[in-house]
Protein backbone atom coordinates (compact mmCIF):
# COMPACT_ATOMS: atom_id res chain seq x y z
CA UNK A 1 0.00 0.00 0.00
CA UNK A 2 1.36 3.35 -0.97
CA UNK A 3 2.06 5.36 2.14
CA UNK A 4 0.95 8.75 0.98
CA UNK A 5 0.77 11.35 3.71
CA UNK A 6 -2.98 11.42 3.41
CA UNK A 7 -3.23 7.73 4.30
CA UNK A 8 -1.02 8.21 7.35
CA UNK A 9 -2.94 11.25 8.50
CA UNK A 10 -6.20 9.36 8.03
CA UNK A 11 -4.96 6.67 10.43
CA UNK A 12 -4.23 9.28 13.06
CA UNK A 13 -7.43 11.19 12.44
CA UNK A 14 -9.57 8.03 12.75
CA UNK A 15 -7.91 7.10 16.02
CA UNK A 16 -8.52 10.59 17.40
CA UNK A 17 -12.12 10.45 16.22
CA UNK A 18 -12.69 7.11 17.94
CA UNK A 19 -11.20 8.36 21.19
CA UNK A 20 -13.12 11.61 21.18
CA UNK A 21 -16.33 9.83 20.21
CA UNK A 22 -16.08 7.50 23.19
CA UNK A 23 -14.98 10.22 25.64
CA UNK A 24 -18.02 12.16 24.50
CA UNK A 25 -20.27 9.10 24.78
CA UNK A 26 -19.19 8.65 28.40
CA UNK A 27 -19.97 12.28 29.16
CA UNK A 28 -23.32 12.06 27.40
CA UNK A 29 -24.19 8.96 29.41
CA UNK A 30 -23.24 10.68 32.66
CA UNK A 31 -25.33 13.64 31.62
CA UNK A 32 -28.34 11.44 30.97
CA UNK A 33 -28.46 12.33 27.27
CA UNK A 34 -28.05 8.73 26.18
CA UNK A 35 -29.21 5.53 27.81
CA UNK A 36 -28.26 2.01 28.75
CA UNK A 37 -24.62 1.09 28.81
CA UNK A 38 -21.41 2.34 27.19
CA UNK A 39 -18.30 0.18 26.72
CA UNK A 40 -15.42 2.56 25.95
CA UNK A 41 -12.81 1.58 23.36
CA UNK A 42 -10.35 4.22 24.57
CA UNK A 43 -6.79 2.89 24.42
CA UNK A 44 -7.46 0.28 21.76
CA UNK A 45 -7.93 2.61 18.78
CA UNK A 46 -4.90 1.37 16.84
CA UNK A 47 -6.40 -2.11 16.46
CA UNK A 48 -9.63 -1.17 14.66
CA UNK A 49 -7.95 1.54 12.61
CA UNK A 50 -4.88 -0.49 11.65
CA UNK A 51 -6.88 -3.54 10.56
CA UNK A 52 -9.68 -1.70 8.75
CA UNK A 53 -7.15 0.35 6.75
CA UNK A 54 -6.70 -2.82 4.67
CA UNK A 55 -10.40 -3.37 4.01
CA UNK A 56 -12.98 -2.15 1.49
CA UNK A 57 -16.74 -1.84 1.89
CA UNK A 58 -17.06 -5.28 0.25
CA UNK A 59 -15.12 -6.84 3.13
CA UNK A 60 -17.21 -7.57 6.20
CA UNK A 61 -16.44 -7.25 9.88
CA UNK A 62 -18.22 -8.26 13.04
CA UNK A 63 -17.70 -6.38 16.26
CA UNK A 64 -18.29 -6.70 19.98
CA UNK A 65 -20.08 -4.93 22.82
CA UNK A 66 -17.12 -2.47 22.68
CA UNK A 67 -17.93 -1.64 19.09
CA UNK A 68 -17.86 2.10 18.42
CA UNK A 69 -14.24 1.97 17.27
CA UNK A 70 -14.87 -0.80 14.76
CA UNK A 71 -17.85 1.09 13.34
CA UNK A 72 -15.88 4.28 12.83
CA UNK A 73 -12.83 2.49 11.44
CA UNK A 74 -15.03 0.57 8.97
CA UNK A 75 -16.47 3.81 7.67
CA UNK A 76 -19.77 4.23 9.49
CA UNK A 77 -21.24 7.73 9.70
CA UNK A 78 -20.78 9.23 13.16
CA UNK A 79 -24.00 11.22 12.81
CA UNK A 80 -26.06 8.07 12.46
CA UNK A 81 -24.05 6.36 15.20
CA UNK A 82 -24.70 9.27 17.53
CA UNK A 83 -28.40 9.30 16.64
CA UNK A 84 -28.51 5.61 17.56
CA UNK A 85 -26.96 6.31 20.97
CA UNK A 86 -29.60 9.00 21.43
CA UNK A 87 -32.31 6.46 20.55
CA UNK A 88 -33.57 8.43 17.57
CA UNK A 89 -35.12 7.41 14.26
CA UNK A 90 -32.11 8.52 12.22
CA UNK A 91 -29.84 6.13 14.09
CA UNK A 92 -28.46 3.14 12.23
CA UNK A 93 -31.04 0.88 13.87
CA UNK A 94 -33.79 3.53 14.05
CA UNK A 95 -33.20 3.57 17.80
CA UNK A 96 -33.92 -0.13 18.22
CA UNK A 97 -30.34 -1.22 18.88
CA UNK A 98 -28.36 1.35 20.81
CA UNK A 99 -24.65 1.21 21.54
CA UNK A 100 -24.35 -2.58 21.59
CA UNK A 101 -26.10 -3.22 18.27
CA UNK A 102 -24.88 -0.61 15.82
CA UNK A 103 -24.53 -2.06 12.33
CA UNK A 104 -24.04 -0.61 8.87
CA UNK A 105 -24.36 -3.35 6.29
CA UNK A 106 -23.72 -0.86 3.48
CA UNK A 107 -20.08 -0.50 4.59
CA UNK A 108 -19.68 -4.15 5.61
CA UNK A 109 -20.13 -3.57 9.32
CA UNK A 110 -22.28 -6.55 10.34
CA UNK A 111 -22.95 -5.36 13.82
CA UNK A 112 -21.76 -4.89 17.31
CA UNK A 113 -22.86 -7.71 19.59
CA UNK A 114 -23.88 -7.89 23.22
CA UNK A 115 -22.75 -11.49 23.58
CA UNK A 116 -19.06 -12.25 24.09
CA UNK A 117 -18.09 -14.53 21.20
CA UNK A 118 -21.46 -14.06 19.51
CA UNK A 119 -19.97 -12.45 16.42
CA UNK A 120 -17.57 -15.29 15.67
CA UNK A 121 -20.14 -17.54 13.93
CA UNK A 122 -21.63 -14.58 12.04
CA UNK A 123 -18.23 -13.53 10.72
CA UNK A 124 -17.53 -17.12 9.73
CA UNK A 125 -20.77 -17.09 7.74
CA UNK A 126 -19.72 -13.85 6.08
CA UNK A 127 -16.45 -15.57 5.18
CA UNK A 128 -18.37 -18.50 3.69
CA UNK A 129 -20.35 -16.02 1.58
CA UNK A 130 -17.11 -14.36 0.46
CA UNK A 131 -15.64 -17.73 -0.47
CA UNK A 132 -18.73 -18.62 -2.51
CA UNK A 133 -18.68 -15.18 -4.16
CA UNK A 134 -15.11 -15.85 -5.27
CA UNK A 135 -14.21 -12.18 -5.61
CA UNK A 136 -11.35 -12.10 -3.13
CA UNK A 137 -13.27 -10.36 -0.38
CA UNK A 138 -12.67 -11.28 3.24
CA UNK A 139 -14.29 -11.25 6.66
CA UNK A 140 -12.64 -9.94 9.80
CA UNK A 141 -13.90 -10.89 13.23
CA UNK A 142 -13.00 -8.59 16.12
CA UNK A 143 -13.27 -10.12 19.58
CA UNK A 144 -11.54 -9.88 22.93
CA UNK A 145 -9.47 -12.14 25.12
CA UNK A 146 -12.69 -13.04 26.93
CA UNK A 147 -14.20 -14.59 23.81
CA UNK A 148 -11.29 -17.00 23.51
CA UNK A 149 -12.84 -18.83 26.47
CA UNK A 150 -16.13 -19.32 24.64
CA UNK A 151 -17.03 -22.47 22.71
CA UNK A 152 -17.93 -20.41 19.66
CA UNK A 153 -14.26 -19.48 19.34
CA UNK A 154 -13.25 -23.11 18.98
CA UNK A 155 -16.03 -23.95 16.55
CA UNK A 156 -15.35 -20.92 14.36
CA UNK A 157 -11.59 -21.43 14.28
CA UNK A 158 -11.91 -25.12 13.45
CA UNK A 159 -14.44 -24.91 10.62
CA UNK A 160 -12.71 -21.86 9.10
CA UNK A 161 -9.47 -23.75 8.93
CA UNK A 162 -11.02 -26.96 7.59
CA UNK A 163 -12.78 -25.01 4.83
CA UNK A 164 -9.93 -22.49 4.27
CA UNK A 165 -12.36 -19.62 4.70
CA UNK A 166 -11.17 -16.08 3.92
CA UNK A 167 -11.30 -14.74 7.46
CA UNK A 168 -8.97 -13.05 9.91
CA UNK A 169 -9.68 -13.55 13.60
CA UNK A 170 -8.52 -10.38 15.34
CA UNK A 171 -8.21 -10.99 19.08
CA UNK A 172 -7.92 -7.71 20.94
CA UNK A 173 -6.19 -8.83 24.07
CA UNK A 174 -6.91 -5.80 26.26
CA UNK A 175 -5.78 -7.72 29.35
CA UNK A 176 -9.20 -7.94 30.98
CA UNK A 177 -12.35 -9.97 30.41
CA UNK A 178 -14.84 -7.71 32.18
CA UNK A 179 -13.02 -7.26 35.51
CA UNK A 180 -10.87 -10.37 35.43
CA UNK A 181 -7.27 -10.22 34.27
CA UNK A 182 -6.24 -12.36 31.34
CA UNK A 183 -4.08 -14.58 33.56
CA UNK A 184 -7.13 -15.42 35.66
CA UNK A 185 -8.95 -16.50 32.52
CA UNK A 186 -6.24 -18.32 30.59
CA UNK A 187 -3.39 -20.65 31.49
CA UNK A 188 -1.52 -19.37 28.45
CA UNK A 189 -1.83 -15.62 28.05
CA UNK A 190 -0.28 -15.58 24.58
CA UNK A 191 -3.56 -16.22 22.84
CA UNK A 192 -2.15 -16.42 19.31
CA UNK A 193 -0.70 -19.79 20.33
CA UNK A 194 -4.19 -21.25 19.93
CA UNK A 195 -3.76 -20.95 16.16
CA UNK A 196 -1.38 -23.90 15.99
CA UNK A 197 -3.98 -26.38 17.18
CA UNK A 198 -6.24 -25.33 14.31
CA UNK A 199 -3.52 -25.52 11.68
CA UNK A 200 -3.53 -21.82 10.90
CA UNK A 201 -0.92 -19.09 11.36
CA UNK A 202 -0.95 -17.23 14.65
CA UNK A 203 0.51 -13.73 14.67
CA UNK A 204 1.09 -11.33 17.54
CA UNK A 205 1.44 -7.60 17.22
CA UNK A 206 1.73 -4.59 19.48
CA UNK A 207 -1.86 -3.45 19.40
CA UNK A 208 -0.89 0.10 20.32
CA UNK A 209 1.17 0.54 17.16
CA UNK A 210 -1.22 1.41 14.37
CA UNK A 211 1.42 1.04 11.65
CA UNK A 212 2.44 -2.35 12.99
CA UNK A 213 -1.17 -3.50 13.22
CA UNK A 214 -1.80 -2.34 9.68
CA UNK A 215 1.25 -4.15 8.35
CA UNK A 216 0.78 -7.45 10.16
CA UNK A 217 -2.97 -7.59 9.55
CA UNK A 218 -2.32 -6.88 5.88
CA UNK A 219 -0.32 -10.10 5.55
CA UNK A 220 -3.21 -12.03 7.12
CA UNK A 221 -5.83 -10.28 5.00
CA UNK A 222 -3.87 -10.77 1.79
CA UNK A 223 -3.43 -14.44 2.62
CA UNK A 224 -7.21 -14.74 3.05
CA UNK A 225 -7.79 -12.89 -0.24
CA UNK A 226 -5.56 -15.39 -2.01
CA UNK A 227 -7.73 -18.24 -0.73
CA UNK A 228 -5.08 -19.61 1.60
CA UNK A 229 -7.31 -19.60 4.66
CA UNK A 230 -7.69 -17.97 8.04
CA UNK A 231 -5.23 -16.38 10.45
CA UNK A 232 -5.46 -15.66 14.15
CA UNK A 233 -4.01 -12.24 14.93
CA UNK A 234 -3.55 -11.28 18.56
CA UNK A 235 -3.22 -7.55 19.19
CA UNK A 236 -1.87 -6.85 22.66
CA UNK A 237 -3.44 -3.68 23.94
CA UNK A 238 -5.12 -2.15 26.96
CA UNK A 239 -8.52 -0.82 27.90
CA UNK A 240 -7.86 2.52 29.59
CA UNK A 241 -11.18 2.58 31.41
CA UNK A 242 -13.69 0.26 33.01
CA UNK A 243 -15.50 -2.57 31.26
CA UNK A 244 -18.75 -0.62 31.05
CA UNK A 245 -20.68 2.20 32.62
CA UNK A 246 -24.36 2.88 33.07
CA UNK A 247 -25.40 5.97 35.05
CA UNK A 248 -22.03 6.46 36.77
CA UNK A 249 -18.43 5.52 36.11
CA UNK A 250 -17.54 2.44 38.16
CA UNK A 251 -14.55 2.59 40.51
CA UNK A 252 -11.17 1.54 39.14
CA UNK A 253 -10.01 -1.84 40.43
CA UNK A 254 -6.82 -2.32 38.43
CA UNK A 255 -3.31 -1.42 39.65
CA UNK A 256 -2.45 2.26 39.13
CA UNK A 257 1.08 1.42 37.94
CA UNK A 258 -0.33 -0.90 35.31
CA UNK A 259 -2.69 1.77 34.00
CA UNK A 260 0.09 4.37 33.97
CA UNK A 261 2.44 2.04 32.11
CA UNK A 262 -0.09 1.41 29.38
CA UNK A 263 -1.10 5.07 29.13
CA UNK A 264 2.55 5.84 28.52
CA UNK A 265 2.15 3.70 25.40
CA UNK A 266 -0.81 5.71 24.12
CA UNK A 267 -1.33 4.70 20.48
CA UNK A 268 -2.44 8.20 19.49
CA UNK A 269 0.50 10.01 21.11
CA UNK A 270 2.80 7.46 19.51
CA UNK A 271 1.43 7.97 16.01
CA UNK A 272 1.35 11.76 16.47
CA UNK A 273 5.02 11.77 17.46
CA UNK A 274 5.85 9.48 14.57
CA UNK A 275 4.14 11.66 11.99
CA UNK A 276 5.59 14.87 13.39
CA UNK A 277 9.09 13.36 13.39
CA UNK A 278 8.57 12.25 9.78
CA UNK A 279 7.38 15.80 9.02
CA UNK A 280 4.12 14.40 7.71
CA UNK A 281 2.35 16.92 9.87
CA UNK A 282 3.19 19.75 12.26
CA UNK A 283 2.06 20.41 15.82
CA UNK A 284 -0.30 22.96 14.46
CA UNK A 285 -1.69 20.48 11.90
CA UNK A 286 -2.32 18.12 14.78
CA UNK A 287 -4.22 20.80 16.65
CA UNK A 288 -6.26 21.40 13.51
CA UNK A 289 -7.08 17.70 13.25
CA UNK A 290 -8.28 17.65 16.84
CA UNK A 291 -10.41 20.75 16.35
CA UNK A 292 -11.94 19.27 13.21
CA UNK A 293 -12.79 16.04 15.01
CA UNK A 294 -14.48 17.97 17.81
CA UNK A 295 -16.44 20.04 15.32
CA UNK A 296 -17.55 16.85 13.53
CA UNK A 297 -18.68 15.38 16.83
CA UNK A 298 -20.57 18.55 17.76
CA UNK A 299 -22.33 18.30 14.41
CA UNK A 300 -23.11 14.64 15.11
CA UNK A 301 -24.67 15.52 18.46
CA UNK A 302 -26.68 18.31 16.85
CA UNK A 303 -27.88 15.85 14.19
CA UNK A 304 -28.85 13.33 16.86
CA UNK A 305 -30.66 15.88 19.00
CA UNK A 306 -32.59 17.16 16.00
CA UNK A 307 -33.73 13.67 15.07
CA UNK A 308 -37.12 12.63 16.48
CA UNK A 309 -37.66 9.76 18.87
CA UNK A 310 -39.27 6.72 17.25
CA UNK A 311 -43.06 6.68 17.18
CA UNK A 312 -44.42 4.18 19.68
CA UNK A 313 -46.85 3.09 16.97
CA UNK A 314 -43.91 1.68 15.01
CA UNK A 315 -43.10 -0.88 17.68
CA UNK A 316 -43.66 -3.85 15.35
CA UNK A 317 -41.92 -2.38 12.30
CA UNK A 318 -38.86 -4.36 11.11
CA UNK A 319 -39.77 -7.61 12.89
CA UNK A 320 -40.09 -9.59 9.68
CA UNK A 321 -39.13 -9.00 6.08
CA UNK A 322 -42.34 -8.76 4.10
CA UNK A 323 -41.13 -10.24 0.82
Amino acid sequence: MADGNDALIALLRNMILIREFDELALNLREGGKIYGTVHPYVGQEAVAVGVCANLTDADRVTSTHRGHGHCIAKGADIKRMMAELFGRVDGYCKGKGGSMHIADFAVGMLGANGIVGGGLPLATGAALAAQLDGKGNVAVCFFGDGAVSEGEFHEAMNISSVWKLPIVFVCENNQYAANNAVAVQHRNVDLALHAGSYGMPGLTVDGNDVLGVREVSRTAIERARRGEGPTLLECKTYRWYFHAMRAVRPPETRPAEEIAAWKARDPIARMSTELISRRVLSESDLGGLQRQVRADLEAAVAFAEASPFPDAGDILVDMFATA
Binding site: K96, G97, A103, I115, E152, I159
Partner: protein
Protein backbone atom coordinates in the same frame (compact mmCIF):
# COMPACT_ATOMS: atom_id res chain seq x y z
CA UNK B 1 -51.91 -37.93 -7.69
CA UNK B 2 -48.55 -39.59 -6.99
CA UNK B 3 -47.79 -40.60 -3.41
CA UNK B 4 -44.42 -40.07 -1.72
CA UNK B 5 -43.31 -40.13 1.89
CA UNK B 6 -42.96 -37.13 4.16
CA UNK B 7 -39.14 -37.55 4.10
CA UNK B 8 -39.07 -37.78 0.30
CA UNK B 9 -41.23 -34.67 0.06
CA UNK B 10 -38.74 -32.72 2.18
CA UNK B 11 -35.81 -33.93 0.04
CA UNK B 12 -37.69 -32.86 -3.09
CA UNK B 13 -38.28 -29.42 -1.65
CA UNK B 14 -34.58 -28.86 -0.99
CA UNK B 15 -33.49 -30.20 -4.38
CA UNK B 16 -36.03 -28.10 -6.26
CA UNK B 17 -35.09 -24.92 -4.43
CA UNK B 18 -31.37 -25.58 -4.97
CA UNK B 19 -32.06 -26.04 -8.69
CA UNK B 20 -34.16 -22.90 -8.79
CA UNK B 21 -31.78 -20.56 -6.96
CA UNK B 22 -28.02 -21.02 -6.83
CA UNK B 23 -27.85 -18.90 -3.68
CA UNK B 24 -29.47 -21.77 -1.78
CA UNK B 25 -26.76 -23.75 0.02
CA UNK B 26 -27.07 -26.45 2.64
CA UNK B 27 -24.93 -27.24 5.67
CA UNK B 28 -25.09 -30.36 7.80
CA UNK B 29 -23.25 -33.33 9.19
CA UNK B 30 -25.12 -35.60 6.78
CA UNK B 31 -27.84 -35.41 4.14
CA UNK B 32 -30.65 -37.56 2.85
CA UNK B 33 -31.27 -37.70 -0.86
CA UNK B 34 -27.61 -37.26 -1.96
CA UNK B 35 -27.81 -33.54 -2.82
CA UNK B 36 -24.00 -33.32 -3.04
CA UNK B 37 -24.05 -35.51 -6.16
CA UNK B 38 -26.17 -32.99 -8.02
CA UNK B 39 -25.05 -29.72 -6.46
CA UNK B 40 -21.42 -30.33 -5.52
CA UNK B 41 -19.29 -29.63 -2.48
CA UNK B 42 -19.39 -25.83 -2.64
CA UNK B 43 -23.16 -25.71 -2.05
CA UNK B 44 -23.63 -28.91 -0.07
CA UNK B 45 -21.31 -28.71 2.90
CA UNK B 46 -20.50 -31.63 5.17
CA UNK B 47 -19.67 -29.97 8.45
CA UNK B 48 -17.99 -30.68 11.75
CA UNK B 49 -20.43 -31.26 14.62
CA UNK B 50 -20.54 -27.58 15.55
CA UNK B 51 -24.14 -26.46 15.91
CA UNK B 52 -23.30 -23.05 17.29
CA UNK B 53 -21.06 -21.94 14.49
CA UNK B 54 -23.29 -23.54 11.85
CA UNK B 55 -26.34 -21.70 13.17
CA UNK B 56 -24.48 -18.40 13.15
CA UNK B 57 -22.83 -19.07 9.80
CA UNK B 58 -26.22 -19.63 8.23
CA UNK B 59 -27.33 -16.30 9.62
CA UNK B 60 -24.13 -14.50 8.59
CA UNK B 61 -24.16 -15.91 5.07
CA UNK B 62 -27.86 -15.04 4.81
CA UNK B 63 -27.02 -11.43 5.67
CA UNK B 64 -24.48 -11.52 2.83
CA UNK B 65 -26.85 -12.62 0.08
CA UNK B 66 -27.13 -16.40 0.40
CA UNK B 67 -30.05 -18.63 1.38
CA UNK B 68 -28.52 -21.23 3.66
CA UNK B 69 -30.34 -24.29 4.91
CA UNK B 70 -28.75 -25.37 8.18
CA UNK B 71 -29.53 -28.93 9.23
CA UNK B 72 -29.56 -29.32 12.98
CA UNK B 73 -30.79 -32.86 12.34
CA UNK B 74 -32.53 -33.34 15.70
CA UNK B 75 -33.97 -30.28 17.41
CA UNK B 76 -32.13 -31.52 20.48
CA UNK B 77 -28.87 -30.38 18.95
CA UNK B 78 -30.13 -26.85 18.41
CA UNK B 79 -29.89 -26.31 22.15
CA UNK B 80 -26.12 -26.39 21.75
CA UNK B 81 -26.60 -23.29 19.60
CA UNK B 82 -28.87 -21.39 21.99
CA UNK B 83 -26.90 -18.15 21.74
CA UNK B 84 -27.07 -18.08 17.97
CA UNK B 85 -30.78 -18.95 17.91
CA UNK B 86 -32.04 -16.79 20.74
CA UNK B 87 -29.61 -13.88 20.94
CA UNK B 88 -28.72 -13.61 17.27
CA UNK B 89 -31.14 -15.18 14.75
CA UNK B 90 -34.36 -14.17 16.44
CA UNK B 91 -33.27 -10.57 17.07
CA UNK B 92 -30.83 -9.61 14.35
CA UNK B 93 -33.23 -8.05 11.89
CA UNK B 94 -35.22 -6.00 14.36
CA UNK B 95 -32.34 -4.83 16.52
CA UNK B 96 -30.50 -3.61 13.44
CA UNK B 97 -33.55 -1.64 12.35
CA UNK B 98 -34.44 -3.84 9.39
CA UNK B 99 -31.39 -2.83 7.37
CA UNK B 100 -30.79 -6.37 6.08
CA UNK B 101 -32.74 -9.58 5.53
CA UNK B 102 -31.68 -12.98 6.85
CA UNK B 103 -33.18 -15.74 4.69
CA UNK B 104 -31.92 -18.78 6.56
CA UNK B 105 -33.80 -22.03 7.17
CA UNK B 106 -33.05 -24.26 10.14
CA UNK B 107 -34.26 -27.84 9.76
CA UNK B 108 -34.73 -30.34 12.55
CA UNK B 109 -36.59 -33.51 13.41
CA UNK B 110 -38.92 -33.28 16.38
CA UNK B 111 -41.22 -35.33 18.56
CA UNK B 112 -41.32 -38.63 20.40
CA UNK B 113 -42.77 -42.05 19.76
CA UNK B 114 -39.53 -43.50 18.40
CA UNK B 115 -38.11 -44.95 21.67
CA UNK B 116 -35.29 -42.43 21.53
CA UNK B 117 -35.68 -41.39 25.17
CA UNK B 118 -35.60 -38.01 26.85
CA UNK B 119 -33.13 -35.92 24.89
CA UNK B 120 -34.12 -37.05 21.40
CA UNK B 121 -37.90 -36.96 21.81
CA UNK B 122 -38.53 -33.26 22.36
CA UNK B 123 -41.10 -30.91 20.82
CA UNK B 124 -39.87 -27.49 21.90
CA UNK B 125 -41.47 -25.33 19.21
CA UNK B 126 -43.11 -23.08 21.77
CA UNK B 127 -39.65 -22.12 23.08
CA UNK B 128 -38.81 -20.73 19.65
CA UNK B 129 -42.29 -19.18 19.30
CA UNK B 130 -41.65 -17.31 22.52
CA UNK B 131 -38.44 -15.53 21.50
CA UNK B 132 -40.17 -13.73 18.60
CA UNK B 133 -38.40 -13.13 15.32
CA UNK B 134 -38.36 -16.72 14.06
CA UNK B 135 -40.96 -18.14 11.72
CA UNK B 136 -41.90 -21.74 12.45
CA UNK B 137 -43.35 -24.42 10.23
CA UNK B 138 -44.72 -27.74 11.49
CA UNK B 139 -46.18 -29.80 8.63
CA UNK B 140 -48.41 -32.84 9.10
CA UNK B 141 -48.63 -34.28 5.57
CA UNK B 142 -46.11 -34.92 2.77
CA UNK B 143 -47.74 -32.27 0.57
CA UNK B 144 -47.57 -29.63 3.29
CA UNK B 145 -44.03 -30.68 4.15
CA UNK B 146 -42.88 -30.02 0.63
CA UNK B 147 -44.88 -26.86 0.09
CA UNK B 148 -44.01 -25.29 3.43
CA UNK B 149 -40.30 -26.09 3.26
CA UNK B 150 -40.10 -24.57 -0.23
CA UNK B 151 -41.82 -21.44 1.05
CA UNK B 152 -39.51 -21.38 4.07
CA UNK B 153 -36.41 -21.45 1.87
CA UNK B 154 -37.81 -18.58 -0.22
CA UNK B 155 -38.83 -16.56 2.83
CA UNK B 156 -36.55 -13.65 3.69
CA UNK B 157 -36.55 -14.38 7.42
CA UNK B 158 -35.07 -17.05 9.66
CA UNK B 159 -37.48 -20.00 9.57
CA UNK B 160 -37.31 -23.11 11.73
CA UNK B 161 -38.69 -26.23 10.07
CA UNK B 162 -39.86 -28.74 12.68
CA UNK B 163 -40.16 -32.13 10.96
CA UNK B 164 -42.00 -34.73 13.01
CA UNK B 165 -40.04 -38.01 13.28
CA UNK B 166 -43.16 -40.19 13.36
CA UNK B 167 -44.29 -38.76 10.04
CA UNK B 168 -41.10 -39.49 8.10
CA UNK B 169 -42.27 -42.79 6.64
CA UNK B 170 -45.89 -41.69 6.14
CA UNK B 171 -46.84 -41.55 2.46
CA UNK B 172 -49.40 -39.24 0.94
CA UNK B 173 -50.36 -37.45 -2.26
CA UNK B 174 -48.08 -34.61 -3.32
CA UNK B 175 -48.87 -32.46 -6.37
CA UNK B 176 -46.40 -32.41 -9.23
CA UNK B 177 -44.61 -29.22 -10.12
CA UNK B 178 -43.75 -26.19 -8.06
CA UNK B 179 -46.00 -26.95 -5.09
CA UNK B 180 -45.93 -24.12 -2.55
CA UNK B 181 -47.85 -23.73 0.70
CA UNK B 182 -47.80 -20.19 2.08
CA UNK B 183 -46.58 -19.59 5.62
CA UNK B 184 -49.24 -18.46 8.06
CA UNK B 185 -52.23 -20.19 6.50
CA UNK B 186 -53.95 -22.95 8.48
CA UNK B 187 -55.74 -25.79 6.74
CA UNK B 188 -59.08 -27.33 7.65
CA UNK B 189 -58.15 -30.96 7.09
CA UNK B 190 -61.68 -32.25 7.74
CA UNK B 191 -64.84 -30.27 7.99
CA UNK B 192 -67.24 -30.87 10.90
CA UNK B 193 -69.86 -29.15 13.03
CA UNK B 194 -69.71 -30.42 16.64
CA UNK B 195 -66.12 -30.02 17.86
CA UNK B 196 -62.98 -28.37 16.53
CA UNK B 197 -59.82 -30.39 17.06
CA UNK B 198 -56.62 -28.47 16.43
CA UNK B 199 -53.85 -31.00 15.94
CA UNK B 200 -50.14 -30.44 15.48
CA UNK B 201 -47.92 -32.56 13.22
CA UNK B 202 -48.45 -36.29 13.95
CA UNK B 203 -51.57 -35.44 15.92
CA UNK B 204 -53.27 -34.04 12.84
CA UNK B 205 -53.19 -37.59 11.50
CA UNK B 206 -54.40 -38.96 14.82
CA UNK B 207 -57.18 -36.39 15.00
CA UNK B 208 -58.33 -37.40 11.52
CA UNK B 209 -58.43 -41.05 12.58
CA UNK B 210 -60.45 -40.12 15.65
CA UNK B 211 -62.80 -37.98 13.56
CA UNK B 212 -63.48 -40.93 11.26
CA UNK B 213 -64.16 -43.17 14.26
CA UNK B 214 -66.51 -40.73 15.99
CA UNK B 215 -68.38 -40.08 12.77
CA UNK B 216 -69.73 -43.63 13.21
CA UNK B 217 -71.47 -42.35 16.37
CA UNK B 218 -72.76 -39.24 14.67
CA UNK B 219 -70.20 -36.90 16.24
CA UNK B 220 -68.96 -34.44 13.63
CA UNK B 221 -65.34 -33.39 14.26
CA UNK B 222 -63.61 -30.57 12.39
CA UNK B 223 -59.82 -31.00 12.21
CA UNK B 224 -57.74 -27.86 11.84
CA UNK B 225 -54.00 -27.97 11.12
CA UNK B 226 -52.25 -24.65 11.82
CA UNK B 227 -49.26 -25.82 9.68
CA UNK B 228 -47.22 -22.80 10.74
CA UNK B 229 -46.92 -21.69 14.36
CA UNK B 230 -45.32 -18.33 13.51
CA UNK B 231 -47.17 -16.66 11.96
CA UNK B 232 -50.15 -18.44 13.51
CA UNK B 233 -53.38 -18.30 11.51
CA UNK B 234 -55.52 -17.50 14.51
CA UNK B 235 -58.48 -16.40 12.45
CA UNK B 236 -59.01 -19.79 10.77
CA UNK B 237 -58.95 -21.47 14.18
CA UNK B 238 -61.35 -18.93 15.72
CA UNK B 239 -63.73 -19.24 12.76
CA UNK B 240 -63.85 -23.00 13.24
CA UNK B 241 -64.53 -22.60 16.96
CA UNK B 242 -67.26 -20.05 16.31
CA UNK B 243 -68.88 -22.68 14.07
CA UNK B 244 -68.56 -25.70 16.38
CA UNK B 245 -68.57 -24.01 19.81
CA UNK B 246 -66.06 -26.53 21.15
CA UNK B 247 -62.26 -26.80 21.04
CA UNK B 248 -59.77 -29.58 21.74
CA UNK B 249 -56.06 -28.96 21.10
CA UNK B 250 -53.75 -31.94 20.66
CA UNK B 251 -49.98 -31.82 20.78
CA UNK B 252 -47.14 -34.01 22.00
CA UNK B 253 -45.32 -31.19 23.82
CA UNK B 254 -46.07 -30.82 27.52
CA UNK B 255 -48.84 -28.28 28.17
CA UNK B 256 -46.95 -25.61 30.12
CA UNK B 257 -46.33 -22.50 28.00
CA UNK B 258 -46.94 -24.60 24.91
CA UNK B 259 -48.28 -23.99 21.43
CA UNK B 260 -51.50 -25.53 22.75
CA UNK B 261 -51.58 -22.91 25.50
CA UNK B 262 -51.04 -20.14 22.97
CA UNK B 263 -53.81 -21.43 20.71
CA UNK B 264 -56.23 -21.70 23.65
CA UNK B 265 -55.42 -18.15 24.74
CA UNK B 266 -55.75 -16.77 21.22
CA UNK B 267 -59.20 -18.35 20.93
CA UNK B 268 -60.62 -17.23 24.27
CA UNK B 269 -59.27 -13.69 24.21
CA UNK B 270 -61.42 -12.92 21.19
CA UNK B 271 -64.78 -11.99 22.69
CA UNK B 272 -66.92 -13.14 19.77
CA UNK B 273 -65.25 -16.53 19.75
CA UNK B 274 -65.37 -16.73 23.54
CA UNK B 275 -69.12 -16.14 23.53
CA UNK B 276 -69.54 -18.90 20.95
CA UNK B 277 -67.95 -21.49 23.23
CA UNK B 278 -70.39 -24.06 24.62
CA UNK B 279 -67.85 -25.79 26.86
CA UNK B 280 -64.41 -25.34 28.34
CA UNK B 281 -61.41 -25.64 26.03
CA UNK B 282 -59.53 -28.93 26.43
CA UNK B 283 -55.84 -29.62 25.87
CA UNK B 284 -54.44 -33.07 25.20
CA UNK B 285 -50.69 -32.83 25.68
CA UNK B 286 -47.72 -34.86 26.88
CA UNK B 287 -47.14 -35.60 30.52
CA UNK B 288 -44.84 -32.97 32.03
CA UNK B 289 -41.83 -35.27 32.12
CA UNK B 290 -38.75 -35.91 29.98
CA UNK B 291 -40.03 -38.50 27.50
CA UNK B 292 -39.08 -41.91 28.95
CA UNK B 293 -37.55 -44.81 27.02
CA UNK B 294 -39.49 -47.93 27.96
CA UNK B 295 -42.38 -48.48 25.53
CA UNK B 296 -44.98 -48.64 28.29
CA UNK B 297 -43.77 -45.39 29.80
CA UNK B 298 -43.34 -43.57 26.51
CA UNK B 299 -46.88 -44.51 25.54
CA UNK B 300 -48.09 -43.17 28.88
CA UNK B 301 -46.22 -39.89 28.35
CA UNK B 302 -47.61 -39.06 24.90
CA UNK B 303 -51.20 -38.36 23.86
CA UNK B 304 -53.13 -41.16 22.17
CA UNK B 305 -56.45 -41.58 20.42
CA UNK B 306 -58.23 -42.59 23.63
CA UNK B 307 -57.15 -39.33 25.27
CA UNK B 308 -58.31 -37.32 22.27
CA UNK B 309 -61.67 -39.08 22.29
CA UNK B 310 -62.05 -38.52 26.04
CA UNK B 311 -61.36 -34.81 25.60
CA UNK B 312 -63.88 -34.54 22.77
CA UNK B 313 -66.53 -36.29 24.87
CA UNK B 314 -65.74 -33.94 27.73
CA UNK B 315 -66.56 -30.92 25.55
CA UNK B 316 -69.84 -32.57 24.51
CA UNK B 317 -71.11 -33.20 28.05
Amino acid sequence: MREITFAQALDEAVAEEMRRDERVITLGTDFTGNPHKEFGPARVRFTPISESVLTGMGLGAAGCGYRPIVNWRMVTFSFVAMDQVVNQASKIRYMFGGQADFPVTYRCSTGGGMNLAAQHSQSPYSMWMHVAGLKIILPATPADAKGLLKSAIRDNNPVVSFECSRLNAVAGPVPDGDHLVPLGVADVKRSGSDVTVVGLAYYVQEALAVAAELAQEGISVEVVDPRTLVPLDVETIRASVRKTGRLVIVDEAPPTCSAAAEIAAAVVEDSTTFRALKSAVQRVCAAPVPVPYSPTLEKAALPDRAAIIAAIRCTLK
